[in-house]
Amino acid sequence: MHNVENSIREAAKKLLSEKKVDLIVGYERGTLPLRTTPCFVDKAEDVRKLVWNENCDANLSKYLLSRKENVGVVAKGCDARSIAVCIFEKQIDKEKVVIIGAPCLGLIDKKKVKAKLDGRELLEATIEDEQIRLKGEGFELVFPKKDFICNSCLTCRHRNPPIYDVFTGEKVSEAEVDEFGEIADLEAKPAKERWEHFKEELDKCIRCYACREVCPLCYCKTCFVDQTMPIWFGKTNDLSDTMIYHLVRAFHVAGRCVDCGACSRACPMNINLREVVKKTEKIMKERYDYTAGLSLEKIPPLGEFKIDDSQEFIK
């Protein structure tokens, strides 16, 4: 980790001092345990602010959209993939971005930690040797780190960024994982039960749009729910409106979503939003053998077609 952190700082320093970039987007320490916060460094001497750890959970590609200056960005595998999608979609200028790729073995899911602490407040956390030490008022607990890894990281097949300009640290081995295993149980249920499940889950939604705003692919100037003339769908927290909001958002990221997990992490209501978007990833894989964010040239599934595409649902 420190090794990577140092080389990120070095890379950033080099890029800034050689004037290859005007700005580095990275992570700095947050104000709460297990948190980092995005930071913007434009002076070489400030690179020491940059940190690298299991809490660097924001997908920084969001900060590259429609930037005018040259930017260096710290990117995990998933972040780099979403940058690739945005480059294809012309939302990020390839010429203006330097991707400082970093290997990632998984982020800590602070919600999992909270669940474990069951209402007790976490005041301090340290991670060492695959162990995590959680301290609060009247407790000090040690758990294996793996108990708290984000679900999106558990199904990750691209721990090393598939595209980058500078690679920091050493490449890590990719895991053999069951990519879509986590939604298999749900898929196997009858439609009514799935409906009940999503109804309960999405009923929690307060339409704060944190999921949308953290998502690098949600760059529409006016989101469909905010559009008028016509108003397609309501903005209320009525279940039907909420369902449709999440359904359409999932549809919109179909073939583009890299499962960075940012939406799920951002949700203040603990809705497992990945459960919805994960399905689109699976559809794309199974129907069109496509994985998003691995190439800057390949046309995404909804931008092309084959004459013999599957059509079992069409009479």
């Binding site: 979609e89 012309k90 529409c220 100037k221 006016t222 469909f224 003339m229 016509p230 909804l302 931008g303």
Partner: protein
């Protein structure tokens, strides 16, 4: 002498319709004459078409409707030519129009007469397989949709007269005579099917379960007698084993049909595939001599039929068919290549009937004074494939020789170019432009909707409570007038509509009646005449999709009609006037490629008065044709080419750029800009402006790696042999072995090069002519001497040329055998009939090398934004009906750039491309569609997804003050709306079908 700007097209099949449309679109007045009561010809009878399995009616119907509506086309159906005099530029024709016993002006095509007719007459369209009344239309989508009374069947009972509320029945209507003055005539008479009962050994007419392929086609059709179910005639069972017998009335001297019908291998395969698609239990077997899949992408189709659908191909002639009395199954005796006689039982036998010259050709030829060939097709020459023996009279399609639909359509366009060249000076003199009152500006006004609800005689009124729908419509928002009419489409009601528009100040009009597909243009015309923009119109289909399909539930049908009314009003409240933007046209052409096709195209354009830039990459014109010296008919190709090139250089309108290549293309239809680089020592760049582009980049001969080519001087390609034959005075050839399909139909080039079989036959005949002692062996996979070429194949066999078939997996082998200090070439090939290898010592080994696409096609395709097929040839917009167009408007393809083909086909295609180009170049402005996509720049993120899904390259990204945004080119947009539905940001909308309108329609649910 003054030429006339009008044309008579005889025959309303796909050829006649295409020729008429091209001519009418390039400002000629067209009289389209058909002896049948409706146009559409044979293609309207087809179920699906190979190799794309397109639904024939789906793709043909829009053309028929366009022809029916075109203001420069007069349809003269149920009419025959009586007499013609005059000459090129001015013919006087006399026609007889037979009585329909129905008033064409009054019949609305509502069909009540046919519903009520008590007579059951066999339906000719369905090949006698189903029954219709004595008053009928040939097929449901008939153009013109006017009924006709079959006087032989009619009882004169008077029922139809009684039920026809339009008063269109005229039992006393007489035949009438008609005089036409036209500048030129096109013959598009199509063909007759061979009568299979003439081949008595197949038992057609005796055995119930032996059907002709055309009958089978109707059986397969969704609109056929069993609605697509394949049921055999004897007992209505599903036939499991079906045999297709090929060449029934083709390649058969015993019937006087020595030619190949060209289409049967493919259409039989198509029928087999579709039968299999309809009912998977069917096992089709096709008995044939050769698989003649010579067309573009045909071999791929055959391969799929064999491997994916399990269609069995057996090479043999079937000797006899016997019926098994108990089961009515059929026993077929045949001898496969290995000579063992086999007997196999089938449930159904389909006789793949060949093409026969139309019976009417003889009479027509006489009246017109044109020559027929020995079979009865109109005679043409290699270099003039669309000219008859008489100037001013052109021919296209199967009227001149058997051919498939794309060839036919190509020739139809080519014939139109023939006319254009002849009558260029009279173009536009006989077409009239309709004048309309000034359009009322209704923008910003609150909608004032007028609703006209049609009874359609009793068609609607007999089921739906029309007055209650009128009453309901009056309660809907913004409706200021609603009324009902007996026939809204009748001319007196049209006047009423116009008056009401004025009286009530209507600014939106809704007609609730039949289908917008047939009647929208009529009503749009009416409101336009009343000063409203044509798009301020909406229809509710309460007949075809309501009263006719819910005939027994009056209440539900009325409720549905009200719902449809509410939906129409919801949409009408949001419709806006749309503009068809007029775009200027640079009346100048660009032809890329200076081979036969390019030269032909350039000359054809220049002859019609258009300037042309002709770009050739080499230092001289001529291309592939430079290597061909004679034709099968012994015409001198080099002489022809020299004459053509002279014409090019002497024509002031043509500018030739040699050693040149296209560097960049920008712009769009009517307004292209092209940068050309001239390499004449130093590079020079030129900017050219033009309205259309014709791609004629040609093909190249494959340089074989096989059979020691290039390593042994005795191994030649066909073109090299041809050169040698021409140059050498009296050479002794000895043993000449020709190997076909070298570099074709393999993994690298999976297609058939189409011209090599003809080349081999031609050159072997020439060898035999020069040196009768020479032995010529042609080793082939299938001999594909389609059409009239079949005769030459026969001639070659008669001349002693030996043809030996080989299988793909058992290719001929070449060995060098040392004997007496020299090395002999020895070819061994497995002979399937004697089932043994035979060995031939070859003095010359001639390779029929493939035709391959030039490498630069790829770069050019990218520049033009047009596609290539998998093989690297340019891919046309539609394999069947748009063979020389690209999806991108204003760009056309011809010659070998499209696919390998012989001389006459390249010439036809080049002229066809010019005809299509002339539909644009003859206009001052091109009118863009009104219904097109528009971009809301406030929402657009320029993600380019719309560009990916647009099939017409109609969207580009533009740099604006607000950053990059998509922009729709209204000249290219066809209004499909794929972009609008794909855009995540809803930044694109489709005029005429806007999100707002759709939203309101969906919201009408109560």
């Amino acid at each position: 002498m003054d030429k006339l700007g009008s044309v008579m097209v005889i025959g309303g099949g796909v050829a006649g319709v295409q020729a008429s449309l091209d001519l009418a679109d390039s400002n000629f007045k067209v009289y389209l004459v058909d002896s049948l009561p409706s146009i559409g010809g044979t293609m309207a009878q087809l179920d699906k078409t190979f190799p794309t399995n397109d639904c024939a009616m789906c793709i043909l119907a829009p053309k028929l409707v366009a022809a029916g509506r075109h203001q420069n086309i007069s349809l003269l159906t149920n009419a025959n030519l009586k007499h013609v005099e005059g000459k090129a530029g001015h013919f006087k024709a006399t026609l007889t129009r037979r009585s329909r016993r129905v008033d064409e002006d009054k019949c609305t095509g509502c069909g009540v007469c046919a519903q009520k007719c008590p007579v059951e007459a066999l339906d000719k369209f369905n090949e006698g397989l189903s029954k219709g009344g004595a008053v009928y239309v040939r097929y449901p989508q008939a153009v013109p949709l006017i009924y006709i009374i079959n006087k032989e069947k009619c009882l004169g009972c008077g029922i139809c007269e009684e039920v026809c509320k339009a008063g269109a029945i005229r039992y006393d209507q007489k035949d009438e005579e008609l005089q036409l003055d036209v500048g030129s005539i096109i013959l598009a008479t199509g063909f007759d099917e061979f009568d299979p009962s003439l081949k008595t050994e197949y038992g057609y007419g005796r055995h119930l379960n032996v059907v002709s392929s055309i009958e089978f086609e109707r059986l397969l059709s969704a609109s056929g007698p069993h609605a697509g179910l394949v049921l055999r005639p004897s007992d209505g069972d599903i036939p499991r084993k079906i045999a297709f017998i090929q060449c029934v009335g083709s390649r058969d001297a015993t019937c006087g049909t020595d030619y190949c019908s060209s289409v049967c291998c493919m259409y039989a395969t198509k029928e087999a595939v579709i039968a299999k698609e309809h009912m998977n239990q069917i096992e089709p077997t096709i008995f044939l001599m050769d698989v003649r899949a010579y067309g573009k992408d045909f071999d791929k189709y055959i391969e799929r039929a064999e491997n994916e659908y399990g269609v069995r191909f057996v090479r043999c002639r079937v000797s006899s068919i016997e019926e098994v009395p108990e089961t009515r199954n059929l026993k077929i005796k045949y001898e496969p290549e290995d000579g063992k006689l086999i007997q196999e039982e089938f449930n159904l036998v389909v006789l793949t009937v060949g093409i026969k010259p139309s019976e009417s050709n003889k009479e027509l030829a006489e009246k017109l004074g044109v020559e027929l060939d020995k079979f009865g097709f109109f005679k043409t020459q290699t270099f003039t494939p669309i000219s008859t023996s008489k100037p001013g009279i052109f021919v296209c399609g199967v009227a001149s020789s058997p051919k498939d639909i794309p060839e036919t359509v190509t020739q139809a366009s080519a014939a139109s170019t023939g006319v254009g060249e002849l009558l260029a000076s009279a173009r536009g003199t006989l077409v009239k432009k309709k004048e309309y009152p000034k359009e009322r500006d209704v923008r910003g006004q609150p909608p004032r909707i007028g609703v006209f609800i049609c009874h359609c005689g009793i068609n609607i009124g007999g089921v739906i409570d029309v007055p209650s729908v009128v009453e309901y419509a009056q309660t809907l928002p913004n409706v200021v007038h609603a009324c009902d009419n007996l026939y809204t489409c009748s001319s007196d009601t049209q006047e009423i509509v116009k008056n009401r528009i004025q009286e009530y100040g209507l600014n939106r009009v809704i007609v609730a009646s039949c289908s917008p597909r047939t009647h929208e243009p009529l009503f749009q015309e009416t409101i336009k005449e009343a000063g409203l923009n044509r798009y301020l119109f909406e229809m509710a289909n309460i007949r075809d999709q309501c009263s006719w399909v819910h005939m027994h539930d009056h209440k539900a049908a009325t409720e549905k009609a009200k719902d449809l009314m509410r939906m129409a009003v919801a949409k009408a409240r949001e419709i806006e006037p749309l503009e068809r933007v007029a775009l200027g046209v640079t009346r100048r052409g660009l032809v890329i490629g200076g081979g036969l096709a390019g030269i032909t195209a350039a000359l054809a354009l220049a002859k019609q008065g258009f300037e042309v830039d002709l770009i050739e990459k080499n230092k001289e014109l001529g291309g592939f044709l430079r290597k061909i010296h004679y034709t099968l008919e012994n015409d001198d190709t080099q002489e022809y080419l020299r004459a053509m090139i002279d014409n090019v250089y002497s024509n002031e309108l043509i500018k030739v750029f040699l050693n040149s290549k296209v560097e960049n293309v920008s712009g769009y239809v009517g307004n292209f800009k092209t940068t050309v680089t001239l390499d004449s020592g130093s590079e020079v760049k030129r900017e050219l402006e033009h309205g259309i582009i014709i791609v004629a980049t040609g093909g190249e001969e494959y340089h074989p790696n096989e059979y020691l080519y290039g390593k042994d001087h005795r191994v030649l390609t066909q073109l090299e042999l041809e050169n040698r034959i021409t140059v050498a005075a009296d050479e002794k050839f000895g043993n000449v072995v020709m190997i076909q399909c070298v570099g074709s139909r393999n993994d690298e080039h999976p297609y058939c090069s189409r011209m090599c079989c003809g080349e081999a036959v031609k050159n072997s005949l020439k060898v035999k002519e020069k040196d009768p002692e020479a032995n010529v062996y042609v080793l082939f996979r299938d001999i594909r001497t389609y059409g009239i070429m079949e005769e030459d194949y026969k001639r070659a066999r008669e001349a002693g040329v030996i043809f030996i078939r080989y299988e793909e997996e058992n290719k001929p082998k070449l060995a060098k055998i040392k004997s007496e200090g020299k090395e002999d070439l020895q070819v061994s090939v497995f002979e399937p009939i004697i089932q043994e290898d035979i060995i031939i010592d070859a003095d010359l080994l001639v390779l029929s090398a493939a035709v391959i696409p030039p490498q630069e096609n790829g770069t050019l395709a990218k520049m033009l934004k047009v596609p290539l097929n998998e093989d690297g040839f340019f891919l046309e917009a539609h394999a069947k009906l748009r063979p020389v167009d690209f999806a991108t408007e204003g760009i056309f393809v011809c010659g070998m750039a499209h696919s390998p083909k012989p001389i006459e086909e390249s010439i036809s295609q080049a002229k066809a491309a010019v005809s299509r180009a002339c539909t644009l170049l003859t206009k001052d402005t091109i009118e863009a569609e009104g219904i097109i996509a528009t971009v809301n720049p406030n929402r657009c993120t320029a993600c380019e997804l719309c560009m990916l899904v647009c099939a017409y390259n109609a969207i580009e990204i533009e740099e604006t003050k607000r950053g990059k945004v998509a922009k729709v080119n209204s000249a290219l947009c066809k209004g499909c709306g794929a972009c609008a539905a794909t855009c995540r940001c809803s930044a694109i909308d489709l005029k005429g079908f806007t999100d707002m309108q759709m939203n309101l329609i969906i919201n009408t649910l109560r």
